[in-house]
């Protein structure tokens, strides 16, 4: 047990260090416009826009090769921000690329999982942990909800669970203001 925890902890540290290192070392000083567009895209990395990730889509938009309404996870607000940035007109989300859904995270039914590692290979952000023939688990905090792990699973044990609202994520609602009656009431 302890050694397992130690191994995991060590793994986490090594990975973390590698992540940090890679972030610094391999930062591509790219086109500032692409960076700006990429900063607006939600980084779900789901490919619904027709490109293999958010960055390629950002590049395509910058080159004028793609419309700004192809990203379902970004939704209406994302389109609005892109339109603002690029001075283009706001459009409706293109239906052929999908619909805007509430954010959900993938969940593996650990009773059914056979440990085939296919989902690990599909996950664009390495949010699934597990080794061959061991059951796999999804790190909910890191899951972007891209759904890319669903089709490869041979035993169909991954499902998308919507994130429930909690006291921490709850938001104050937009104030509903009473509409003043047009006719004068007799006091």
């Amino acid at each position: 047990m302890i050694s397992a925890i130690l191994v995991m902890a060590l793994g986490a540290i090594v990975l973390g260090a590698a992540l940090g290192y890679a972030a610094v070392k391999f930062r591509v000083e790219g086109d500032p416009l692409v960076e700006k567009i990429d900063a607006i895209l939600p980084q779900t990395q789901c490919g619904q826009c027709g490109f293999p990730g958010c960055k390629p889509y950002a590049e395509a938009i910058a080159k004028g090769e793609a419309e700004i309404n192809q990203c379902p996870p970004g939704g209406e607000e994302g389109i609005r921000k892109l339109a603002d940035l690029l001075g283009r007109e706001v459009k409706e989300l293109s239906a052929e690329h999908g619909i805007e859904k509430p954010k959900a995270v993938a969940f593996i039914d650990e009773q059914i999982c056979i440990g085939c590692t296919l989902c690990i290979q599909a996950c664009p952000v390495d949010a699934i942990i597990g080794a061959a023939k061991q059951m796999h688990t999804i790190v909910a905090d890191q899951c972007t909800g891209c759904e890319l792990c669903l089709p490869p699973c041979p035993v169909n044990c991954i499902s998308m669970e919507p994130l429930p609202e909690s006291v921490e994520t709850w938001k104050w609602k937009y104030p509903v203001f009473a509409i003043k009656p047009a006719t004068k009431e007799v006091a």
């Binding site: 590698a18 958010c54 949010a127 089709p151």
Partner: protein, 557 residues
């Protein structure tokens, strides 16, 4: 000890009716332990403590039941002895009406403490003392419930000019600090002395509004023996008890927008917090109860010492709520928030349970358009332009709202109080703030996802290169051997490694199939036609998914 002290003015403010007399007629009473205590784990700013107990455990009063999650967090304790009956989701004293993880304790009636040992902070390092206070669950009791140990740090300079102790208690109806200072002045001052030592503060100023003569007298008596510690009487004007406002009045320091008072050598604590620190350090008692004012639409308004986790319903039952009661507010009429039900527990943030009725708090007149009269800006103690904040929040132009220092708004409600158009201004600010926070969180998550995605691309690239290098090495070492092997194999496209993997997957699949067959339901004959149709539909869906998964599976033979 009296001394002449120059007072300053803070901008704006209002003078609502105090309504403080009713609850100060009688001394603090102890509220009895209820049948069940419901203690939320999340009671302070920061991470949610991890539960340390489970159903069936026996606990003692003061036993830690939730361990601080990281440094920005504070522990939670059992407020009396008894048995844990559940660790489950219960309704929180929060406007959302959402549940969160709570420890439910059935008291055994003995109220038996853990062994209490005073903490010798003079022989401990500052870090040890802070950790001790974190584990004792001490948080700011003025209402913000910020973990106190984080504030008890003099910072880089190693000292503080002025320690401000907030006994102003400016909000109408609330009197818990007033009665605390009247009855427990000495212990409170001992707590202040401990804080002063931890912060290496030069002078201590205790600010009390001039509508609390008894508290002022008691505190003046208690500080008499202390060096450089003075009680300063400040004029009664809401919100003199806001931290920045009190600092301004007592020291003349105007903390600019977006800055913290510590940048100017001043730190501010509530008197209740000072008392809690005294109990934790000098008596070895973690924070398990607090003084709560019950006022408003009740026959017998009073202050009670209440165990955390006591349902508000039990508390107001002691005070005889009038029959037309229709709501409970946690806090006062200006800044308080409405409770979703009266079953919610008293927590560390509960300074007051204000009982309301339609007569006491009539519904606000209808909201009318802003006429830009500027009254709100005159009243704003944070020196903001509330009508601009309102405009941008209402139009959801959040960036602009932030430029106008939305986050310096202390939600005091002065602007809404004076607004002739009856606009619920604070509701708009709360809405805008929570939207901005949510967006920031989303942005952080997206940034993290981008880093992880880029790292994955980098890793894949590296793996490809390594594989190519290995292959090249192999080829060079035994080209003929490889060629011979290749010739004899029909499908040279897969490496032996991949073959082995595919075989493994196939085997596992077989096992899973067998397991599923074993678990298949037996009594499928006597089903209704709907049930059978449903089963057929599900099977069809499965088949479809299997089709979809085909390209990712190993070929059958």
């Amino acid at each position: 000890m009296s001394m002449l002290h120059r007072l300053f003015n803070f901008h704006g403010g209002v003078k609502p009716a105090y309504n403080k007399e009713a609850s100060t007629q009688q001394p603090i009473a102890v509220s009895p332990a209820p049948t069940f205590l419901v203690i939320p784990l999340h009671q302070s700013i920061g991470g949610t403590p991890r539960p340390l107990v489970q159903a069936g455990d026996k606990v003692l009063k003061g036993q830690r039941i939730g361990e601080a999650d990281g440094n920005v967090s504070s522990a939670v304790h059992a407020s009396t002895s008894g048995t844990v009956t559940a660790v489950e989701m219960r309704l929180m004293p929060h406007t959302s009406g959402l549940p969160a993880l709570c420890v439910v304790i059935e008291p055994d009636g003995r109220d038996e403490w853990i062994t209490r040992t005073p903490f010798d902070y003079r022989n401990a390092t500052p870090t040890q003392t802070r950790d001790y206070l974190r584990d004792a669950g001490v948080v700011g009791l003025g209402g913000a419930v910020f973990p106190s140990h984080l504030k008890l740090n003099p910072g880089k300079s190693g000292k503080l000019d002025t320690l401000v102790i907030n006994g102003a208690e400016c909000e109408p109806f609330i009197t818990c600090d007033d009665v605390l200072m009247r009855e427990r002045a000495e212990a409170t001052v001992k707590g202040i002395a401990i804080m002063r030592e931890m912060l290496a503060a030069g002078r201590v100023l205790v600010g009390i509004e001039d509508n609390k003569p008894e508290a002022i007298a008691a505190m003046e008596k208690a500080v008499a023996g202390e060096k450089d510690m003075a009680v300063i009487v400040v004029p009664t004007r809401y919100p003199a008890g806001g931290a920045k406002q009190l600092i301004r009045v007592l020291t003349g320091i105007e903390v600019p927008h977006g800055k913290r008072s510590t940048d100017y050598g001043v730190q501010c604590f509530n008197v209740g917090t000072a008392y809690a620190i005294y109990e934790a350090i000098a008596l070895g008692q973690p924070l398990v109860s607090r003084i709560v004012t019950v006022a408003g639409n009740v026959e017998k308004a009073r202050n009670y010492e209440v165990l955390f986790g006591t349902p508000m319903a039990d508390l107001i039952a002691l005070c005889d709520a009038k029959p037309d009661t229709d709501r409970l507010i946690m806090g006062g009429p200006m800044m308080g928030v409405r409770m979703p039900a009266d079953s919610v527990p008293v927590v560390k943030a509960t300074n007051c349970v204000l009982v309301g009725s339609p007569i006491l708090f009539p519904p606000p007149p209808p909201e009318m358009p802003c006429i830009r009269c500027g009254e709100c800006a005159k009243a704003c103690p944070a020196d903001l332009q509330p009508f601009e904040l309102y405009w941008f929040s209402r139009a959801k132009i959040f960036g602009k709202a932030q430029e106008y220092n939305l986050f310096d708004c202390i939600e005091c409600g002065c602007c809404a109080y004076v607004c002739p158009s009856h606009i619920p201004l604070v509701d708009y600010y709360r809405f805008a703030k929570s939207e901005i926070w949510a967006r920031e969180k989303e942005k952080e998550a997206a940034d993290e996802a981008r880093v992880r995605y880029e790292f994955r691309l980098f890793r894949e690239e590296r793996e490809k290169e390594e594989k190519a290098a290995r292959l090249a090495a192999k080829t060079a070492a035994g080209r003929e051997k490889a060629a011979a092997a290749l010739a004899s194999v029909d499908q040279p496209t897969t490496t032996p490694e991949e073959d082995a993997k595919k075989a493994l997957i196939a085997a596992a699949l077989e096992r899973a199939k067998a397991q599923k067959a074993d678990a298949a339901p037996q009594n499928t004959e006597q089903l209704t036609s709907e049930q059978q149709a449903e089963i057929a539909a599900i099977e069809a869906r499965r088949a479809e998914i299997r089709e979809m998964a085909k390209p990712h599976l190993p070929p059958d033979n």
